[in-house]
Amino acid sequence: MKQKVTNQTRRQMLIGGAAAASAPLWLNVANAQADTIKIGFPTPLTGPFSAEAQDQVKAAELAIKEFNDAGGFNGRKAELLVRDDKLNPGEAATRTLELIEKDKVNFVVGSLSAATQLSINAVCKERKVLFNSISQSDAINEAKDWSVYTFHEALNPTMTAGAVARYSIPRFGKKIVFLTADYAYGHEMVRAFERAGKEMGATTLADIRHPLGASDYSAFLPRIKALNPDILVLCNFGRDLVNAAKQCTDFGLKSSMKIVTPVLLYTSRLAGGPEAFEGIIGGTSYYWGLEDRIPTAKAFNDAFRKMYNGSVPSDYGALGYAGVKSVLAGVKIAKSTDTLKVVTAMENMKYDWYKGPEYYRKCDHQAVQTVIIVESKSKNMKDKYDVFNILTIEPTTEKNMRSCAELGHKA
């Protein structure tokens, strides 16, 4: 009996203590809910795109810091709520729903795969929450997936693959073979490359589809060699691209054909090394080396270097920065966090965060921007960050995008 009493007392003390200890915390939470502008940020922190995802978070945090350092919006600070979507569309939808319902985020920015961004978009569309996607997709701007709450900060395959086709076909030849990751994004890259190639009279010899996440591509290579194309287009991403580039190099394909890829990632190039990527040409939304010619790139790089021990932002990292920055700029212009007011503000915004002038096209909220064509280098590198030569910058124009009518939007 005595034992029981002691236990009860102890329990009461524990509960009381816990309540007392957490009281300031509760007050904080209550304050935070009223005051900060919350941005939900689902991204695949684990899985094959994790390197890119971590960089997105780092750069997004920089955008938040800059906003807060500048005094926020009427004294309201911004806050980033990062969630791991594990590159799984179901997980991404669940996390996004949680961010909206439980964490009461004001906006959602993020994602790093065609499939996850579509599922995040579907949730945001239904809940009428603004979503600024920082991953490539063509489908997200099409009328069936798009809503007025959807923004697309990233380039899309029509823009990147198109730009790479326009650069490479006149220079290297018209016979094309694709090695394609068998999923939505891979197919979109092929479609866009062919679309641009058709105007120049290019022909497709084969589109060889491989499963997503294959680690050995050697079994596809003898046939590619036998087909003897002028250009081999690697329509895959992340580690798939690293492995494919490496094995194409090993099999000596570069001696008889030019290898190009719609999206040549900075992080993939670092992971694959100079030898594997030597001479491969691709498109990208950003390369830190732009700082020699674009002042905002210099400012962005410097801020990033200062925050992260001298390292430079990657292409997808830069998108994380721009994605958050656009939304917060929208809040300032709208003088409100009301979603529709921010949407209108963003629709009318002309901005230059890091790569020169950009704006969102009215009909589908696609960010109209330049595509940078880079070539991977293997010689005369100044340091480990010096990996690309900028060959050309395809200028900002809606002409190279699919028209609003084509996407199913009413003009």
Partner: protein, 294 residues
């Protein structure tokens, strides 16, 4: 398919053999451990991954591929010895599932350790000097390194075969796999044999990791898909049969390669279809004894 030539078929076959070599080597380690200890080693892919990381790291530090080819399996083998002694041993006699769950957990620990040590992006792998580029093999150009891979794997497999068939230790291992009780009665410390076999299996996994590293990207998750493939190989060959592991490894590599030529998008699926077909016809695998799963 247009443009199908004899040369192309031969190249495809050779590619399949190179692919299969790694499968065979991995499955051999897996099946030594299973055949002897009755442990399904789910950390095998992680040991492969650790081997690849260490291989690239030592190659970077010392500049010698051959040195790291010797050092890496010694280290992964050492980790294997510690794993058996302190983690797996307490679980003997509790059936298949306890060690299976333990090694599954261990694989995640190893992945995390590599992520923390080397970063999530992984390391750029290096083709050893003199083995880069391609060689004309009569029917076309084939990467020198993959030819080396085929030869190296063959030597290692023959070495393991020699060790098991021709040495005293090998005799004890075979006897232990057949009947532990009798071996114990004959005065052999069976615990030491188990320790050695587990270490050997992990050393072979590490060795396959460093051998495979110049052909693919080295990253913390690289062991996961290949583990699934090596289990397919082990099942096709027959659980616990070293000969089966080697034959099935090459077989799976060739099937994958040939499917890639005609139906590229079904390549991944083909090896699982192969497994299903083999299991339907011979449930114990090509070289397996019935009831190997105990």
């Amino acid at each position: 398919m247009t443009g199908l030539t004899f040369e192309l078929l031969c190249m495809q076959l050779l590619t399949g053999i190179a692919l299969g070599s790694i499968y065979a080597l991995l499955a051999l380690g897996l099946c030594l451990i299973f055949g002897m200890l009755n442990v399904v080693n789910f950390a095998h892919g992680a040991f492969f991954m650790v081997g690849a990381f260490l291989g690239v790291y030592f190659l970077g530090v010392t500049g010698s591929f051959w040195f790291s080819l010797v050092l890496t399996p010694l280290i992964t083998g050492g980790i294997g010895l510690l794993t058996e002694r302190f983690l797996v041993r307490p679980l003997y006699g509790r059936g298949l599932d306890y060690p299976l769950l333990l090694t599954f957990g261990l694989s995640y620990v190893l992945i995390e350790v590599m992520r923390v040590t080397f970063g999530i992006e992984g390391l750029p792998s290096i083709t050893p000097e003199g083995l880069g580029g391609t060689l004309n093999v009569g029917i076309g150009f084939f990467p020198k390194y993959r030819l080396f891979l085929i030869v190296a794997t063959a030597i290692i497999i023959l070495g393991v075969w020699f060790f098991i068939q021709k040495t005293r230790y090998g005799l004890i291992i075979k006897a232990g796999a057949a009947d532990q009780e009798i071996v114990k009665v004959l005065g052999v410390d069976i615990a030491k044999v188990w320790l050695l076999v587990f270490g050997l299996g992990c050393a072979i996994a590490g060795l396959s990791g460093i051998l495979a590293s110049p052909t693919r990207s080295v990253n913390p998750e690289m062991g996961i898909p290949i583990l699934a493939e090596s289990f397919v190989v082990t099942v096709v060959g027959g659980m616990g049969s070293p000969v089966g592991a080697v034959v099935a490894g090459l077989f799976v590599g060739i099937v994958y390669s040939m499917t890639s030529l005609f139906f590229p998008d079904l390549a991944e699926l083909s090896i699982f279809v192969l497994m299903a077909v083999v299991l339907l016809i011979r449930p114990q695998g090509l070289f397996g004894k019935a009831g190997a799963m105990g």
